[in-house]
C-alpha cells in the first residue's frame, strides 16, 4: 500500500510540471502580447509596462521564464493584483468561504445522490427509478448559471424562502448556492450509483452471498454497495475540477465573497494576474485531490493495489 502511494506521488510530479507548463505557455508564450494577459485592455504607461515585464520575467528566455514561474509557485508566489496585493494573500483570506460552500455542495450531492441512486438501483424500472432518470437528465442539461438564476428567482424572490445573496445570514446563506453548485455532481453520482448497483446485483458473488443464507439488507448493504461505490468515489476526484469552475459561477451569481467571486470580478476588471494565479493554485489542488482519490480507490478495491 505504501508502495502504491509512493508510485502515485511519483506519477503526480510530471503531471504537475506538465500542467503548469501548459498553463504557462498558453498564457505567457503563445498569445502575441503577454502584457495584455496581465493587464487587459487598460491603458498602461511605458514604465508600468517595464515594471510588469520585470515582475513576470517576460524578457527572459522561455525556459528561464518557466523556471522562475514554477519557482515562484513553490515559494507561494501566485502573482499580484494590479495594485500589488499578492494573490496568495487573497487566496488565504477568501479560502474559508469557498471551502464552506464546497463542503455544503459536497454533503448535498453525496447524500442526496447516493440515496437517489440506491433507491433507483434497487427498484429498477419502477416509477421512482424512472423519476430519478428523467429528473437527472433534465438537470444535467440546464447549465449551472441558469440553474443559479432560476433558483434565485424561485426560492429567493417568489417563495422568499432562502437568502440569495451575500453571507450575512450565517450558514443559511450557503444553502441555496451549495445546492446549485452540487446539482451537476448530484446527477452524476445518482446515475453512477444506480448503474453500478444494478450491475453488481447481477454478479456471481451476489448469488454466492445469497446462497450463504445472508439477509437481503446484508447482501445489498454490505456486499453489493461496497463494490458499487467504487466508481462513485473515483468520480468525486474528477468532479472536484468541475466544482471549482462551478464555484466561480455560483459565487458570482449569489455574491458569495469567496475565491470564485474574486476570479469572477478579476475577469471583469481584467486582472489577468489574479486569474492566472488562482487558476494555477486550483490546478495544483486538483492534482492533489485526484491523488487522494486514487489512494482512496486503492483502499476500497484491493485489486488495484497491485496495479
Amino acid at each position: 500500500m505504501g508502495r502504491f502511494i509512493a508510485r502515485r506521488l511519483l506519477q503526480a510530479i510530471p503531471v504537475f510540471f506538465g500542467a503548469t507548463f501548459i498553463v504557462f505557455t498558453m498564457v505567457y508564450a503563445i498569445p502575441g502580447d503577454p502584457i495584455r494577459a496581465l493587464n487587459g485592455e487598460r491603458p498602461i504607461s511605458a514604465s508600468a509596462q517595464q515594471a510588469l515585464r520585470d515582475r513576470y520575467n517576460l524578457d527572459d528566455t522561455l525556459l528561464v521564464q518557466y523556471g522562475k514561474y514554477v519557482g515562484g509557485i513553490f515559494r507561494g508566489d501566485f502573482g499580484e493584483t494590479f495594485r500589488g496585493r499578492p494573490v496568495a494573500e487573497i487566496l488565504k483570506e477568501k479560502f474559508p468561504v469557498t471551502a464552506r460552500l464546497a463542503l455544503g455542495a459536497f454533503i448535498f450531492e453525496v447524500i442526496l445522490g447516493l440515496i437517489a441512486g440506491i433507491l433507483a438501483g434497487l427498484r429498477r424500472g419502477s416509477f421512482l427509478d424512472n423519476l430519478v432518470l428523467v429528473s437527472t437528465t433534465v438537470v444535467v442539461a440546464i447549465p449551472v448559471f441558469v440553474l443559479g438564476f432560476v433558483a434565485q428567482l424561485v426560492f429567493g424572490l417568489q417563495l422568499r424562502l432562502l437568502p440569495i445573496a451575500g453571507i450575512q445570514h450565517g450558514w443559511v446563506s450557503y444553502v441555496l448556492p451549495s445546492m446549485v453548485l452540487g446539482s451537476l455532481a448530484l446527477v452524476y453520482i445518482a446515475r453512477l450509483t444506480r448503474t453500478s448497483l444494478v450491475e453488481n446485483l447481477r454478479s456471481d458473488y451476489i448469488r454466492t452471498a445469497e446462497a450463504k443464507g445472508l439477509s437481503r439488507p446484508r447482501v445489498v448493504g454490505r456486499h453489493a454497495l461496497r463494490n458499487s461505490l467504487i466508481p462513485v468515489v473515483t468520480y468525486m476526484g474528477v468532479d472536484f475540477g468541475t466544482l471549482m469552475g462551478g464555484a466561480i459561477i455560483t459565487e458570482g451569481i449569489f455574491n458569495i465573497p469567496g475565491i470564485g467571486r474574486e476570479v469572477f470580478l478579476a475577469i471583469q476588471s481584467q486582472e489577468g494576474a489574479v486569474v492566472v494565479g488562482v487558476v494555477t493554485a486550483g490546478i495544483l489542488i486538483f492534482i492533489l485531490m485526484n491523488m487522494i482519490v486514487d489512494v482512496l480507490y486503492a483502499v476500497l478495491d484491493p485489486r488495484i493495489r497491485l496495479a
Binding site: S203, D204, Y205, R207, T208, A209, E210, A211, K212, G213, L214, S215, R218, H223, R226, N227, I230, L300, D301, P302, R303
Partner: protein, 343 residues
C-alpha cells in the same frame, strides 16, 4: 470441526431423520421472459441420502443448474417454481417463509459455484467471507469466527492458512479459490452440499485434487453431495448414482457403473460414445448430431427424438416417454429402453 450444528428449531424436532435427506418430487421451473416462456425444469424428481453422492449430468441448457438453484431457493424473477415439492428431511422447503428458507440456506443445504473468481466478493478477504458464515448464522464474534475460518482453510488444505486468511480472492490461484468456496460451503456442516460445476474452470490436475477433497469431506461428515456437471469423468470418479438430464427432464437414473457400462437411454448412449477412447484411436470423432433444443421450444413427445438415431415415428415424436423402471434400480425415459439394454 467439533461444533455440533444448532439448526433452527423448525428442523431440530426432526432429528434424527430416517428417510431421504433430500427429495425432489416433480419439480418444474419456468422463466417468463418477453420472448416467451422458458421451461427450464420439467417434472424432475430424485432423492438423496446421507453419505450419498448424486451426479446430475447434462449439457448446458439441460436444466441441471436451475434444478439445483431451485433447491437452494435462489430462483428469482422472472423465474418461478411452478409445481412440485422439495423435501428436506421431510419438510417441504417451498412452503417455508422466506426467513425460514434463509436459515436453511448455507447452514443446512449449501452450494458451491464454479468460477470462484467471480463467485467470491473481490473486495473482502477470504477469511472475512468464510467467517461471515459463522457471524451471521451462529452469532460468533469477529475473532472467534476468524479462527474458525482459519481452521476451515486448513481443513481444505490451503497452505499457510493463518497468513493468507487476510488475502483477497484475486491473490489466490484457481484451485485455491475453489477450496475457499468449498470451505464456505462446509463451514456450518450442512447435511446437503450442492457443487455446481466445481471443476469446470480448473486445470485437469487441480480438478483431481478438488474432487478428492470433496470426496474426503463427504466421507468424513456423511453429508449428501449433489454434483451438477457436464463432465462425464468427474461423475464417474465421485458419484454413486447418476441422473442424466436433457431438456429439463431426467432421462435416465441409476447406479453410476450400470449407466456408464450399459446405458438405457439413447442420449446417454450417445454421450458415452462421443468420448474419445484410447482403444478407438484413429477413428473419426462421433459427436451427437444437432444441438440441444432451445428451452423455449422443447420438441414434442420425447425431447431427444430429433437427434436420436433410434427414433421411431410416430411414437417418439408424439408420446413423451415416462421415466419408468426398465431394470432393477434403473429408470429410463425411453420407449425402447429394454431394447437398448438388451444389445
Amino acid at each position: 470441526m467439533a461444533r455440533r450444528s444448532q439448526g433452527p428449531a423448525l428442523l431440530e424436532s426432526q432429528m434424527p431423520y430416517s428417510g431421504h435427506v433430500l427429495e425432489l418430487r416433480d419439480v418444474a421451473v419456468e422463466f417468463n421472459a418477453d420472448y416467451g416462456d422458458v421451461h427450464a425444469v420439467n417434472g424432475v424428481s430424485y432423492t438423496l441420502d446421507r453419505g450419498e453422492s448424486l451426479g446430475i449430468l447434462g449439457e448446458s441448457g439441460s436444466g441441471k443448474t436451475v434444478s439445483a438453484l431451485a433447491i437452494m431457493g435462489l430462483i428469482q424473477e422472472p423465474g418461478r417454481i411452478t409445481s412440485g415439492e422439495i423435501l428436506y428431511k421431510g419438510i417441504d422447503l417451498l412452503k417455508l417463509s422466506a426467513r425460514e428458507r434463509r436459515s436453511v440456506r448455507g447452514a443446512e443445504i449449501a452450494m458451491v459455484f464454479q468460477d470462484a473468481l467471480s463467485a467470491l466478493n473481490p473486495v473482502f478477504s477470504v477469511g472475512d467471507q468464510i467467517a461471515e458464515m459463522f457471524r451471521v448464522h451462529r452469532g460468533m464474534s469477529r475473532r472467534e469466527a476468524m479462527s474458525e475460518a482459519i481452521k476451515l482453510m486448513e481443513r481444505v488444505r490451503i497452505p499457510s492458512a493463518r497468513e493468507r486468511v487476510h488475502d483477497y480472492p484475486h491473490q489466490f490461484s484457481g484451485g485455491m479459490r475453489q477450496r475457499v468456496m468449498i470451505a464456505m460451503g462446509i463451514a456450518l456442516e450442512p447435511d446437503v452440499l450442492i457443487a455446481d460445476e466445481p471443476t469446470t474452470a480448473l486445470d485437469v490436475t487441480v480438478q483431481a485434487q478438488i474432487m478428492e477433497l470433496l470426496k474426503e469431506i463427504q466421507e468424513e461428515t456423511r453429508m449428501g453431495l449433489i454434483l451438477v456437471t457436464h463432465d462425464l469423468g468427474v461423475v464417474a470418479e465421485v458419484a454413486d448414482r447418476v441422473c442424466v438430464m436433457y431438456a429439463g427432464r431426467i432421462v435416465e437414473k441409476g447406479d453410476v457403473t450400470d449407466i456408464y457400462g450399459r446405458p438405457a437411454h439413447p442420449y446417454t448412449e450417445r454421450l458415452m460414445h462421443s468420448i474419445p477412447r484410447v482403444e478407438r484411436k484413429g477413428e473419426r470423432l462421433d459427436p451427437i448430431k444437432g444441438a440441444p433444443p432451445s428451452l423455449l421450444h422443447i420438441p414434442s413427445g420425447c425431447a431427444f427424438h430429433p437427434r436420436c438415431p433410434r427414433a421411431r415415428f410416430p411414437v417418439c415424436s408424439d408420446e413423451e416417454p415416462p421415466l419408468r423402471e426398465v431394470a432393477s434400480e434403473r429408470l429410463s425415459a425411453c420407449h425402447f429402453a429394454e431394447e437398448l439394454l438388451a444389445e
